[in-house]
Symmetry: D3
Subunit: 295 residues, 6 copies
């Protein structure tokens, strides 16, 4: 089929002129499938036996745990190193090949040492989910079937890499779980313990959001920015939610100076751009509607 030859030449020309080829233009950046594979393996490392079909019954955790850790470490170091090198070229600091690799090793080591702490936090989130949803019959059910819990699990790992200023990887992680759950938690957000999101589709939590303990969100809640100007990228643009707040479905809370005080309840569909004092109930006037009989 010689007629495809023209398109082959055109496409190769396009690679040469426009670029956007990983990684002819510089460092080898992580690929989507690579980060997806790492996340999948981490899921199984954190809650052994709940993800993969083959159970763990005959497998001694003292053998499978180091095997998994060494395996994931190899992949993570490669991708963290590529991301650091990318950042080094574009940013304010720089590391040579040796230096970037050494930095990647240290960060990955720290990450694995943090995992038991992340497990402890997730155990609290699990309790919050179980308490917070009358439909939940067991904590095991939460692990295997709550998208909100899955999103929080990934957030807690992605946030680690964000705090180490690794580019790309934390956002790729949060986007992967956004794709699976419809819940978009920016890895830069700071979220306290015992956090619960129910149903979750459409939830957006922006980069500079701060969330306290025992907060509960429903589907479609936006914790967003008022301003989307590029030059304000380094400002706090998203709200602060204090401890023990509940926010019902499709509410939007916007702005970096907006603070929802401790113990508030924000009703469904409420649209808030200013602060609310502690222990306040806010409910929408959307309940107002018109009716007419058909014919």
């Amino acid at each position: 089929m010689h007629m495809l030859e023209k398109s082959i030449d055109l496409l190769i020309n396009s690679y040469n002129s426009i670029g956007l080829v990983n990684h002819r233009e510089g460092e080898k950046l992580p690929s989507k499938d690579s980060i997806a594979h790492i996340l999948y393996s981490l899921d199984e490392l954190i809650f052994p036996g709940f993800r993969e079909t083959t159970g763990i019954e005959h497998t001694d955790l003292t053998l499978s745990t180091p095997e998994k850790i060494y395996h994931i470490a190899g992949e993570l170091i490669r991708d963290v190193e590529g991301s650091i090198a990318f950042s080094s070229r574009n940013g304010s600091f720089s590391c040579g090949r040796e230096g970037c690799h050494a930095a990647a090793e240290l960060i990955v080591r720290d990450f694995f040492e943090e995992l038991p702490l992340i497990r402890s936090l997730l155990a609290l989130d699990l309790q919050a989910a179980f308490r917070g949803d009358p439909a939940a019959k067991s904590t095991q059910e939460v692990i295997v079937s709550y998208p909100g819990f899955e999103a929080i699990m990934v957030y807690r790992m992605a946030h680690f890499f964000w705090t180490r200023e690794i580019p790309l990887i934390p956002r790729m992680m949060s986007e992967l779980v956004h794709g699976r759950t419809g819940i978009d938690i920016h890895p830069g957000a700071e979220i306290g313990e015992s956090f619960f999101i129910d149903h979750g589709t459409g939830v957006v939590i922006g980069e500079t959001t701060i969330i306290g303990k025992n907060v509960k969100l429903y589907q479609g809640v936006t914790l967003g920015a008022l301003s989307v100007k590029k030059e304000e990228a380094n400002k706090k643009r998203h709200p602060t939610i204090e401890d023990d707040v509940t926010i019902y479905s499709n509410a939007a809370i916007l702005g970096g100076e907006t603070v929802i005080g401790r113990g508030c309840i924000i009703g469904g569909n409420v649209w808030l751009t200013s602060s609310v004092p502690s222990n306040t109930v806010v409910y929408s006037r959307m309940g107002e509607y018109n009716e007419k009989a058909l014919k």
Copy 2:
């Protein structure tokens, strides 16, 4: 890289102290991948040739059908048995190893005998989708590209297991299709024939919802609860939607005593917490907005 040894020890300690390992603590619970694989196979069993790349042209359905059924049965019995045993340990009844296995076999047998009925219901849902969307060009298009239809297909299977009081599996099924479609139908809901959901992202249908025949929903519709107290877990907390109702995008209908009467049309973004008599049109006052010219 000896520096990973510390994290290995910490993580194994965490498994021992916090647990959350399937299944060192008891029954072998189903894994996410296992239920995902079962659902995938059931999809191909219900509409042969529409899911897998390899078509069925050379394959005699009289051979491939029993092959698939025996295959899925093996996996389902294992997972249903684990779930029943889990339930037996935590719940009000109990079965020994033999008993749980025998019960699982009976339930799986009943499930396969119900499949032709489910196909018949789905054929009606298919017609409803085709009639209900002007953009639909054929029923085949609905099978291969309507997320609402996929969600209903999975719901009708998950509901079977819910009615048999199998824990975990029905919720895992509904959550898998929630992840793919953004449509969250609790398997406990009761939904009549010829049901159609268009676009679907963000739809939430709660555990005790009752939906009649010929109901049509759009994206973002919530059929939810007013109360989320754990102690009301066994009450009817979600609304009743009678036959021939249409509910437009992002409407929220809440509460176990809320009844939307036969033939109603609920407009987009309407927020309802009380009943509406039959044949009523309800529309939001959200159309009201402010305008100003840009400089």
Copy 3:
């Protein structure tokens, strides 16, 4: 387990009576997995190295590019041919086996020749995303982690097949990326250059929507129809959005005659069913709500 034999017979009877088997009833229609595989391969062809784990470092693009094109061409021609034959049977024109195959070859050839143009458009969309989101740190980050960008990439390919009147395939493509991103862009929509969707979950863009250049949408925006009558399937049912418009989260703009003029800003949650003149800011009155202190 003889008790499964009854269900085998019942299911085969159901295939014979209800049908819905691809492709015993006619042409071999594309399967979901087939189109998914094609889309995956096209993703890697458009931005080499960003999708698959194995990088492209040692691979000469002059070898891998023709390999991929010939591979995808084989699959696409098969599925386009099946779709054309299906359309030929049901529609107003008809092609024989030879004719359908030849037509499929030509369309696939044209598609590959269009790919460099699609890459150029996507390079502009990429710039729009980078400029439009203060959180975006690089264009590479947009490629690997922006669902809005992924949805646009697939739209631009699916739209090609839509304009060639190929049934099923464009809708299957748009639905696959809808599943991954929660963004539902009908392949029939016409969308200008430098388009950006942020977060994206819940966005719906209908079949006859027309969108100009430099338009920006946020999550939950609906560009929908007022009428969903089957007999109006061939009318323009969805709005027109002119150049340089921004539409914030959860706004709904409905109706085929609704035109949002150049340079407008539509606020979050606005519900619009009529046109807005150029350079107008529209904001919801949803900001109005009630408060009460908790005991």
Copy 4:
């Protein structure tokens, strides 16, 4: 790399001029991988749990057995049908498309009904191997590590298809196990019960060989033809070995009229082209050699 285009054209020309393309020239013949896959599955069907890594512990044989049989049946019917159609075109009888398919179904059904008998014969072969080799510690060891036993297992299945005059498939089966074991048993040979081949590499047993009960062969034994003229293809060209014969390594017994009588022992490296009466020991004079001291 435009320089490959010339070779592409040359190769396609070669396909058109020389042919040898399955199956542009006629029936779809079985492929090597297809028969290899069927044999692999049959191995696991005959001795469940000894071949595949995943054991059968949790799998009920009443589920896995029909699953495997239906699966293999689908593949076998396809390949038997192709082979029959090929034979129909070239041979003395002919079947149309329907007829070839129906014939294939009957043969495959008969094959599966013969499997229990084949298992019984193999149980006897197993005993013969265990008794015949002082190094054998258990019958299980014979199943998992005796190439001679593997070759006999495949022979007993291939012979079934040979007796039904199916072309290609029996020879492909015997060649697959020849490749793995170095033992070349033509599927046309007739071999009695309790047969044992030790070590096995280099054994050749020709098409018209007849072997009685309790025969034992060592590596490198040839039971071959004296004449290799094409026109004698339908004559008995290979020897007859009566009951209770042992033939040591690298012996060659040639000719269709050569009969080794009951109870004979044929020594290593013996080269025989004529019959031997019952209960005779034949030993080579090869023991004669020359010696000289080095330096």
Copy 5:
């Protein structure tokens, strides 16, 4: 295809009556695929980068080595435990579940600690092959393309398990490499350093063979037994080959008391059943043949 149901019943009956099902009758014995997978992984562990397609360039051996060891250890412990338990049931000693597992762990630990020694021995074998074959251009060529070297590599591992009296596994290992190379070295043989087998097809080395240093064998050599009586299973039945001996193709040396003295050269096709003093050349009288002119 109801006609398969009879064969399903017959086959399940056969499983119940004849058995030969792993592992309904007792311990879970290793499967062929399991040992094959372990051997494959060990190959890559011993000579990293020479077996798998993906090289090791980007992989730090300090990560990949522990990953591989923990992985293989998990599989080996399971299979060694099953084999020990099998042996425990049939043999003279016995271990309970805990005891068999603990024993398996110790043996596997010892095996991994022996691997560096095995590597050192293989480095000597490699030199012997390079020196011994004029066609060998490099030691790398020997690693990647000498079947004799592959057979020795597997022998040196299988022999470890043999000396620990693990049943099944060593024989399965030697049989796997016999299948690939045509070289059948019983794991019970004792073979000194710097051993080389050229070409190798048809070589048989029996269970009680003893081979010194710097021995070289060619294809088809048998080091076999004179007696194959079951009751002599515990006697030395195979020959002793002292240091620096070369044995040419197809020679057979038989008998437990046959000793080939240091420095001997045994010619092709020689058939020896008695000892040969050191530094002797033995050559066959097979060079004698008859000639006649054609026509």
Copy 6:
């Protein structure tokens, strides 16, 4: 299982001290799996449809042929380049990184342009096999089930690379097919058209063998060397076989000056170290043996 840590350290030390790691010590040499995959793909390229299970029915050869060629070219160029660089470092010539790559590209291009010629030669070999074996029922049967034919196919490709002085790859190819067939043809041998090997196990054809047209060999034939001294590596060490010669099973013909004249027939088990004039029949005196009656 901390007890594995010692073995990890020991093994890493062994890598550092002994080496034998591909490719920390230099060029990236081809791996066994890589060459195996290339050979597999070439098999399917040469005789489309006879190897892979998925037939070629729906696949246009004008699409699948370039796809396969570009795919194999990418792999071959990588491995040829590594081999050339290895040779460059150790041998008498040298190429830099650019130069080795360019050389690899040219050799691979030439290889693909030679493939149609190789197909033509194989078509003649196919005819020779069909004519030469009374048991062969069709040429298709030869393609799918004659190990001799498979060995010749691989030889004809490996020989191409040998003549281009590429190290490792031709030997790896010949060894792969040796493993599958027991036939060991050194890629340096020169073999004329219409060559046939029947059964084949144990055949050895040495590096400097020359074989004319229409030659036929049986299992176990050795065409070998008399001298195996390293310093004679560059001499002709193996025999010359002229046109129309037949050599029966297990005959050995040795020595670089041994010439078997045109039209000779060499009987089974003959051991020849000197030349034979044309049209001579040579037969062994092995037919002589002793007999005695049992008891």
